[in-house]
């Protein structure tokens, strides 16, 4: 992901990040990414637990080459797939 892309086409970036997040979730949960909508709740619908949170952060940091500021991480950021995408997009922007 290049800085130019982020600055030039935020919507496209959000779309890319959604794909990366959903792809990572699909891989972690052995689930078809197409079945993971942004409305799904991570803990209730996807049976996430604390270990999964850490695993996902590691995966996303590696794939997106960003460092999440986990001190500011709020439980709300993990409420739904969509909320997580927004958090990740915000972090990517901050890292840019």
């Amino acid at each position: 992901m290049s800085d130019a892309t982020i600055g030039a086409a935020p919507q496209a970036v959000a779309g890319d990040i959604t794909n990366v997040v959903v792809g990572a979730l699909g891989q972690m949960l052995s689930r078809d990414p197409a079945s993971i909508s942004t409305q799904l709740r991570l803990f209730e619908d996807l049976s996430f637990d604390s270990t999964s949170v850490l695993e996902l952060l590691i995966q996303l940091e590696a794939e997106l080459d960003v460092e999440f500021d986990t001190d500011t991480l709020e439980p709300a950021d993990f409420e739904t797939v969509g909320a997580l995408v927004a958090y990740v997009a915000g972090q990517v922007e901050e890292n840019a």
């Binding site: 604390s50 949170v53 460092e67």
Partner: protein, 461 residues
């Protein structure tokens, strides 16, 4: 130095261990998950606590009612259900006086609520003249602050001592020092130690041995990661190293081999103010993904294994006393599928769920009782009053000591998350006791079934 077995009046013995006097009144504070405060500012693994789970855990403060006597006070986030108090009285527990905080905020621990309540602080200050001591579940800077504000002495060491001895780094170094068997592994306090640990972990993974990385102050399944491949290890290494470089090179982790576990175990000891060590009890721990779910008694150990545990407890207690700790200590241990016993996986130098069951265990259960202490997860559509729950469980609740049945030991966690107008999760904590494991299993199934059929329970598809 002696290792004693507690007998007789558990409250008097605990009081003596904690304060030096058997009749000293206590003010109890059930601040579960005190680890969150110990972990603040430490260089561990990132993680989050879900708000719903925190709201429920904060209401485990009510467990303190089981360990307080008639001359004690218990500080709670909210007044208990009157029917529940009558029920506890019916178990033969002489109940304490209850103080509730003015504003119980669901996301705060009872201690955090208490320090923010000047009237409560003043009431606690009024207890100084009675010689009362403050006895928290575990001591962080918050409980220390409450003690200072109220002028009450702590029935515990300082927050700094408590935090230090609760680090998993401390546990590993202690095991090395006193020669207790422990999983192969190492502590990581800086980047050099981390790099060495990662190289070692990499060679284990190459040989097909999984490894586990644990946050020095992790709790309940948070801050722990099992790694099974080198790619994931490299990613984790990068994540930890990046954070450490931003934090003056500090790391706070342990890396260990992942053992093929047969049984999780948990035992409790008490270190008294004089430094004597008392072995209390050992149970099988029931965990799910590292999160504590409950206990089984008796623990499935051979007599030599029991002796090994007691000897480890004595060594751990002596070392803790030398480092200035006194009070209750829970130790996690395990047996492996090939029959090895690891008598210390980590030290929790604070009260444990087990601690709150000690009075019941000694007064309500016989020596041959088989027991299962657990939480029943609930999904409710509305708040469930205790009276209704009691009626629902009629015939399954134990009605007098040494009789088969369920004893409820925390009710506030049932309705803690209610109020948002939607379905909510809750937990019922109880101990199912009977004469045999089969009978316990049957009672446990019956309790589960009755709860499922409760009119307040969300219908399952």
């Amino acid at each position: 130095m002696h290792t004693h077995t507690l007998s007789g009046d558990v409250l008097a013995l605990l009081r003596t261990a904690l304060t030096g006097a058997a009749d000293r009144p206590l003010v109890l504070l059930g601040n579960f998950e005190v680890e969150d405060h110990w972990a603040k500012g430490e260089a561990g693994l990132p993680g989050i606590v879900m708000p719903a789970s925190r709201v429920i855990v904060n209401r485990m403060d009510e467990c303190a009612l089981l360990l307080a006597g008639p001359d004690d006070h218990v500080v709670l986030k909210a007044a208990p259900d009157e029917e529940y108090l009558r029920y506890l009285g019916g178990l033969g527990l002489a109940l304490p006086r209850i103080l509730t905080v003015a504003t119980g905020q669901p996301q705060r621990t009872v201690s955090e609520d208490a320090v923010a309540d000047p009237r409560l602080v003043a009431t606690l200050g009024g207890l100084v003249a009675t010689g009362a001591h403050l006895w928290p579940h575990g001591v962080s800077v918050v409980e220390e602050r409450l003690a200072e504000l109220a002028g009450l002495p702590l029935a515990a060491p300082t927050a700094a001592v408590c935090k230090r001895v609760n680090s998993k780094i401390y546990s590993r170094l202690l095991a090395d020092e006193v020669g207790l068997p422990q999983p192969e592994g190492t502590v990581c306090r800086d980047l050099d130690e981390l790099d060495r640990a990662i190289r070692r972990a990499g060679s284990w993974l190459d040989a097909g041995r999984p490894v586990v990385l644990k946050d020095a102050f992790g709790v309940s399944g948070r801050g722990i990661m099992v790694v099974r491949d080198t790619r994931r290890l490299a990613q984790l290494h990068a994540l930890i190293a990046r954070r450490a470089r931003r934090d003056a090179g500090r790391v706070g982790l342990v890396m260990e081999e992942w053992l093929p576990k047969r049984h999780d175990l948990n035992y409790q000891l008490t270190v008294d103010r004089a430094g004597d060590v008392h072995f209390d009890v050992i149970k099988e721990a029931i965990t799910s993904d590292g999160v504590h779910q409950g206990h089984r008694m008796p623990a499935p150990l051979t007599e030599p294994q029991h002796r090994q545990v007691r000897s480890a407890a004595a060594a751990i207690g002596r070392r803790l006393a030398a480092d200035g700790y006194f009070g209750v200590v829970g130790v996690d241990a395990l047996t492996t599928t090939d029959g090895r016993l690891y008598p210390m996986i980590e030290i929790n130098a604070r009260n444990n769920m087990s601690t709150y069951q000690e009075r019941l265990r000694r007064t309500w259960f016989g020596p041959d009782t088989v027991a299962l202490a657990r939480q029943y997860p609930l999904r409710l559509t509305r708040a469930l009053p205790f009276g209704e729950l009691r009626a629902l469980l009629d015939g399954v609740l134990a009605d007098r000591p040494d009789r088969p049945g369920l004893v409820i030991n925390n009710f506030a966690t049932v309705n803690a998350a209610s109020g948002a107008g939607t379905d909510f999760g809750g937990r019922l904590y109880g101990v199912v006791a009977a004469d045999s494991a089969q009978q316990v299993a049957a009672l446990d199934r019956e309790v589960t079934e009755r709860l499922r059929n409760c009119s307040a329970t969300v219908a399952q598809s």
